[in-house]
């Protein structure tokens, strides 16, 4: 019997090979090797810690700057404006104030001028400049709330102009600083939460500029994006993973999707401009077009994440379901999809977060226009938060600096809220049994 599988024992001149000396673990070389190994471990740990600390520091710096700068954007300075209505002699009928034409009646009676006159008589020749352009609107609301004030002297807190606000909170020209100091000494200046920032839309005057228009634009755009990209992306992922034959065409599709996910976003903007605006003549600056464009952009991300999540579902679950006589569709919708959903949602969050912060493609489809009112539907002109931030950061008026930071805070809160919702949904689906 020749056993070729057993290696021959090497024989050297008929003697056994020399015995190996027992290893001495205590030698100097061994000790220094141990020390070196420990040092390498320590170095690596410190490097990792340093990297984490550095990124945390950047994050803290970023958030800190935003919060400090942006906090001012949520606050406005108000001036206590004494109004002697009998002296101002507004020509307005009392019964008109109870009706729907009250705004028109007060405007027609010259309320805006009357407020200016009151400011001049209270604070001197430049008094009118101390008030914000929309200060008379506050007075109008006060009259509508209680028409009886038209018969007496009252003091109403109205928003101060951006220059007074800056002088009161920050540095400004000496002349206006002095005016603000005088007003402050007279106890006329107060600070209040700027509700109009959360309810108003873009304006050329920083005191009356608000974020609601851009926020609503973002909400509508995101709704369109999600409604299109999620179902189409998930269905594509299911089809490619569960139904499509594996051949050259599906390989080509896979490569194309991977490439699409890496295409710079501005290219999608050009595509939206050419296709949706150029070919289909859809309205410019509209959330529906923004949503369509962003949906195209994040669809590849959802398809890739969805395919990976579906691929990760163990084949034994598919076998089990097929084995009791489930059809392909039942296997997918009863077993594969519920198990893949957490992963799909994670991909969707990443995609949606990217879409929410996207500016470039929306500039291409005209969402950078000045929009003075919140969009009413998907087809009306709108802007979105990141574009609004971009526009305000470009403004020369210094009052917009803190508005920009405040808008960034709103964007981040929106982003956090969206992510929190998605994580909540993901956890819910993960613990369904």
């Amino acid at each position: 019997m020749s056993s070729t599988l057993v290696p021959e024992v090497p024989v050297t001149n008929g003697r056994e090979p020399a015995e190996r000396a027992p290893t001495d673990w205590k030698t100097h070389a061994m000790q220094s090797r141990i020390r070196k190994r420990y040092a390498a471990e320590r170095r690596f740990r410190l490097l990792g810690l340093g990297a984490v600390a550095l990124s945390a520091a950047f994050l803290v710096f970023l958030l800190g700057t935003m919060l400090i700068n942006g906090a001012g954007g949520f606050v406005r300075t108000e001036i206590a404006l004494p109004l002697d209505f009998p002296a101002l002699s507004l020509d307005v009928e009392r019964e008109q104030l109870a009706q729907r034409g009250a705004d028109l009646a007060l405007a027609g009676a010259g309320l805006q001028n009357a407020v200016g006159v009151a400011a001049v008589s209270a604070f001197g020749d430049e008094g009118e400049d101390y008030l914000a352009d929309n200060a008379w609107l506050t007075v109008r609301e006060a009259i509508k709330d209680d028409p009886s004030i038209l018969d007496r002297r009252v003091t109403i807190a109205v928003p101060a102009s951006s220059r007074i606000h800056l002088a009161a909170t920050d540095d400004a020209e000496p002349a206006i600083e002095a005016a603000a100091a005088r007003l402050n000494a007279a106890g006329a200046l107060t600070r209040g939460f700027n509700w109009s920032f959360l309810t108003g839309s873009d304006s050329t005057d920083p005191t009356s500029a608000g974020i609601w228009g851009a926020l609503k634009g973002s909400l509508l755009t995101m709704a369109v994006t999600l409604a299109l990209a999620f179902p189409i992306g998930v269905l594509s992922a299911i089809y490619l993973e569960e139904y499509a034959p594996k051949n050259r065409w599906t390989d080509l599709i896979e490569v194309s999707i991977n490439n699409l996910a890496a295409v710079p976003s501005i290219i999608f903007g050009l595509l939206g401009l050419a296709v949706f605006l150029g070919t289909f003549n859809m309205p410019r600056s509209a959330p529906i077009v923004g949503g369509l464009t962003l949906a195209l952009m994040i669809m590849p991300v959802i398809v890739i994440a969805g395919r990976n999540a579906i691929k990760a579902v163990p084949p034994s679950i598919r076998d089990a379901a097929l084995g009791v006589g489930a059809s392909r569709v039942q296997v997918v919708f009863h077993h594969v999809l519920p198990l893949a959903l957490p992963g799909i949602l994670t991909g969707t969050i990443i995609g949606m977060a990217r879409a929410l912060g996207e500016t470039a493609p929306l500039l291409m489809i005209g969402m950078r226009a000045f929009i003075g009112s919140a969009p009413e539907d998907l087809a009306s002109p709108a802007t979105v938060l990141p574009v609004q931030i971009f526009l305000w950061s470009d403004q020369v008026s210094s009052g917009f600096v803190e508005k920009t930071s405040a808008a960034i805070i709103v964007l981040l809160v929106f982003l956090l809220a969206m992510n929190a919702l998605a994580i909540y949904l993901r956890n819910r689906f993960e613990t369904r049994w």
Binding site: S316, D319, L322, W433
Partner: protein, 258 residues
């Protein structure tokens, strides 16, 4: 049953060939599986016994490169004919897999899933009865009756495999295919499954693939020996193990190769 010496044939295969792409995995297998007995498929690894088992309920359909030739009938109906609905076929020919694979749902839902998708128990009380009966037949009821709504994946391996058997039973199949059902289990769990196979015999036609010859000898009445894609020998289990007619069968059983 018409004749005691010739039990009714439940499934029958004639000259079946299976190809995986260019690989010829099953080469002309003809076999009859009868209603009353447990049939064991034995053979060395890679001999095609699992592949052949999966042709019996068309699980190979899910593999795009697999191709099946020849005739396989269930009660005389060709299961590969276009008239046969594959979903119904898999309900009639249930399957238990090598690794226990309960759904990540509750024990109750695991068993109720099959009857629900086939509309076998539309009323809740019917479904409760089906679930209880299936779990009883699978010998699991006493162990899980107080925690039917716990996750099926939290059970031990042996319990999971019996849950999978209960899940297969719940759709009221005619044949149960078992693909090495004990290979992932410890000896005690294995003994329970074997005992269960004894109890299920007669109610369902059972085909079991195993690479454990002692198991085949213990649980089956008919044994088929596969080697390199061929069906080498098929006969009464005691004959195969004590008096094999083929040299290759004898060599395998006596441990010459495997």
């Amino acid at each position: 049953m018409t004749d005691n010496s010739l039990p009714a044939t439940k499934m029958s295969a004639r000259d079946v060939h299976v190809y995986y792409g260019a690989t010829h995995a099953i080469k002309g297998v003809s076999i009859d599986v009868d209603q009353e007995n447990v049939t064991a498929f034995i053979g060395p690894s890679g001999c095609g016994k699992s592949t052949f088992l999966r042709t019996l309920n068309r699980m190979n359909d899910t593999i795009p490169i697999a191709r099946v030739e020849g005739d396989i009938t269930l009660d005389g109906e060709n299961i590969y004919s276009p008239a046969m609905d594959v979903v119904q076929l898999r309900a009639r020919v249930g399957m238990v897999f090598q690794k226990p694979n309960p759904f990540p749902k509750s024990i109750y839902e695991n068993v109720a899933y099959g009857p629900r998708i086939h509309g076998l128990a539309p009323v809740k009380s019917d479904m409760d009865r089906v679930v209880e009966q299936s779990l009883r037949r699978a010998g699991l009821w006493e162990e899980v009756k107080d925690r039917l709504h716990d996750s099926g994946t939290a059970l031990s391996g042996g319990q999971q495999q019996r849950l999978c058997i209960a899940r297969a039973i719940a759709v009221d199949p005619e044949v149960i295919l078992m693909d090495e059902p004990c290979s992932a289990l410890d000896p005690i769990a294995t003994a329970k499954i074997e005992e269960l196979i004894h109890e299920l015999r007669g109610r369902y036609a059972i085909v079991i693939v195993t690479h454990n010859m002692q198991q085949a000898a213990r649980v089956s009445q008919r044994t088929a020996f596969f080697h390199l894609g061929h069906l080498v020998e098929y006969g009464v289990t005691s004959d195969i193990f004590t008096n094999p007619r083929q040299e290759r069968t004898k060599d395998y059983i006596t441990g010459r190769y495997g």
